[in-house]
């Protein structure tokens, strides 16, 4: 396999995708009074950059590469966008821009005042999260990825406690402590890898790392660290209060994208950097934790009294599905069905991102109308605020895995892969998880669509514009269901380990 270490003609787009949001942050710090306008303009420009990267990878069928400063690895750092990065960047772009449009007005600059802290912080954090996500998507150097991961954490944690109440500050602190443990373990793994192999470049590592003890220890440390940030069972304790405590647009981004950033790195690590190390035992262990997350998260979601906490526990469950990628990918390596596991796992990530963002937006609108989000008092909500309830239901299709939805195609592909790999126990878990998800979604819908025993008192009326934005995001999750039920060519572009996996 020829190693590409030349900047491609469209490589500058990667720099734009990372730096445009940063430019927005710097401008906002100077011109704080116009922070919302600056942020909206920069969101649009960054969307253009992300879409251009997506189009470039899609059309050319090869990765977009930028060699920073012209220094080739192992001395320098390479930014590399393969098909997976492009899809990840596009998903992040759509969700962050939708969140920006949704938050417009909620976080507007107050007129007649110099500047307010809430809006300033919200828009800066939103831009920072986007920049960090793009850096994670295109990073090809384990230390560079560590810095991007830290940027993502530092942008996500304050978003949790924007409201400033003691409970949200406590949730943010707990999130930060879990994340710090995660980063330090990741860094420890990175230094061991550098000590053993003399490089941190993923492309170079993929050819050098074999099944040595030092690589196994490093991979274990880094994986545990990243699992803490991804909130995989049993390291999920920080997630429900953090995701439920943030304001609705913040929860949408945290649940849809931020936890996926560290998952993305776990896959990069195992499938790209160290394909020679991924044994069936390690893969089964990850999937076992995933299965536990599905069952545990879903059952706890069923028991929640508050809508936002229910959605947060559902995130824990849906993250579990992502880890079936490992045993199914290894079990099917080299067979014609290996693409089904790969596409199914990633489609689960993308469709969950859209569905969960829409769901948190809908929950925010419902809470705005009612003044609370206690599910027990939802009778008649379906008539009072119909559009958010429809949004919730459409997003719920994806979580349950009911057609037509991206979640159906994703879970269908994972089921096919589980059957082909003769790992029927994962197929059973996927089906049980779908039933449990149906339980907690219908619990909310049944209550909301029932007739009120006494007339509902509405505290506020959400604007039609924001209702329609949430509905559009939910429809995007449904439209993903039109993706054909087979492996995607886009996600295979520029995969490093396709060779390594096929050999084993």
């Amino acid at each position: 396999m020829a190693l590409q270490t030349q900047t491609t003609p469209d490589g500058y787009l990667l720099i734009l995708a990372i730096m445009l949001p940063v430019a927005g942050i710097l401008l906002s710090l100077i011109f704080g009074r116009w922070v919302e306008r600056i942020a909206l303009v920069l969101l649009a420009l960054s969307f253009g950059a992300a879409a251009a990267v997506f189009a470039a990878v899609w059309q050319s069928g090869r990765p977009v590469i930028y060699v920073v400063g012209g220094w080739a690895p192992p001395l320098g750092i390479v930014l590399r966008a393969d098909g997976l990065s492009a899809a990840m960047m596009m998903t992040a772009a759509i969700i962050i821009c939708a969140t920006g449009a949704f938050a417009k007005g909620e976080f507007a600059e107050p007129s007649r005042q110099a500047e307010a802290r809430g809006p300033l912080v919200f828009w800066i954090l939103l831009l920072a999260i986007w920049s960090a996500l793009n850096a994670i998507a295109v990073g090809n150097d384990l230390f560079n990825l560590y810095v991007a991961l830290e940027l993502l954490t530092f942008a996500a944690v304050p978003l949790v406690c924007l409201k400033g109440s003691a409970a949200t500050v406590r949730a943010a602190l707990r999130y930060l402590l879990f994340a710090l443990l995660g980063s330090i373990l990741y860094l420890l793994g990175a230094v061991l890898i550098y000590g053993a192999y003399g490089t941190l470049d993923i492309t170079l590592l993929s050819g050098r790392v074999g099944a040595e003890a030092v690589a196994a220890i490093a991979a274990a440390l880094m994986t545990v660290g990243l699992l803490a940030k991804t909130a995989l069972f049993p390291l999920h304790l920080w997630l429900p209060p953090a995701h439920a405590g943030a304001p609705a647009p913040g929860s949408a981004v945290l649940s849809a994208l931020v936890v996926k950033g560290s998952f993305f790195l776990i896959v990069r690590l195992w499938f790209d950097a160290m394909p020679g190390l991924l044994t069936m035992a390690a893969a089964q262990l990850l999937a076992t934790l995933g299965a536990a997350a599905i069952l545990f998260g879903s059952v706890l979601a069923l028991r929640q009294q508050r809508l936002k906490l229910l959605i947060a526990y559902s995130t824990i469950a849906q993250i579990g599905y992502l880890f079936f990628l490992f045993p199914l990918g290894v079990g099917l390596a080299g067979s014609d069905a290996s693409g089904a596991a790969w596409t199914g796992g990633w489609l689960q990530l993308f469709s969950h991102a859209f569905a969960k963002a829409a769901m948190f937006m809908a929950a925010g609108l419902i809470a705005e109308a009612l003044g609370h989000d206690r599910i027990a008092e939802f009778s008649g909500v379906g008539r009072a605020v119909p559009i958010p309830i429809v949004t919730f239901a459409l997003a719920g299709l994806s979580l349950m895995g009911v057609p037509p939805s991206g979640g159906f195609v994703a879970k269908g592909l994972l089921l096919i892969a589980a059957v082909r790999a003769e790992q029927w126990w994962w197929a059973a878990t996927i089906l049980v998880g779908g039933l449990l998800a149906g339980g907690y979604i219908l619990l909310v819908l049944g209550k909301a669509l029932g007739s009120a025993d006494r007339p509902l008192v509405l505290k506020g009326s959400p604007s039609r514009r924001r209702e329609l934005i949430a509905l559009t995001v939910a429809l995007a999750a449904v439209v993903l269901g039109l993706v054909p039920l087979r492996s995607s060519q886009l996600l295979e572009i520029g995969r490093l380990s396709a060779v390594g996996v096929a050999l084993r």
Partner: protein, 109 residues
């Protein structure tokens, strides 16, 4: 024992001690300090790796040294953020703890 070995053992002990405190101490401030202890162990390990990789007439491999500076900056910002959150929490509640596990404490909405 070589000096590299002594430094490597020190680094390992620091990481071990820090991890132990993170897991056993309930107070947030102690956890934050314990993270810094682990961090110092990891940074020392970078130094060991740099020393071992000395070649081409240089006393040490410069790449880990460059990495460790970035690492220290990141660890410093992380500590600052954590302490700021803790101070904020201390102003609102008399005895800052990390609360119960189910997230049902207080008003999140």
């Amino acid at each position: 024992m070589t000096s590299t070995g002594i430094f490597a053992l020190t680094a390992t002990s620091l990481v071990g001690l820090g991890l132990f405190s993170v897991m056993t101490n309930p107070q947030p401030l102690r956890k934050i300090i314990a993270f810094n202890v682990i961090g110092n162990g990891v940074f020392l390990l970078f130094g060991v790796v740099a020393h071992r990789g000395a070649a081409a007439g240089l006393g040490a491999d410069p790449v880990p040294q460059a990495l460790v500076i970035t690492g220290i900056v990141v660890a410093f910002s992380a500590t600052a953020l954590a302490v700021a959150l803790l101070l904020r929490l201390a102003k609102q509640t008399p005895l800052p703890t990390l609360g119960t596990d189910d997230g049902s404490d207080g008003d999140l909405a």
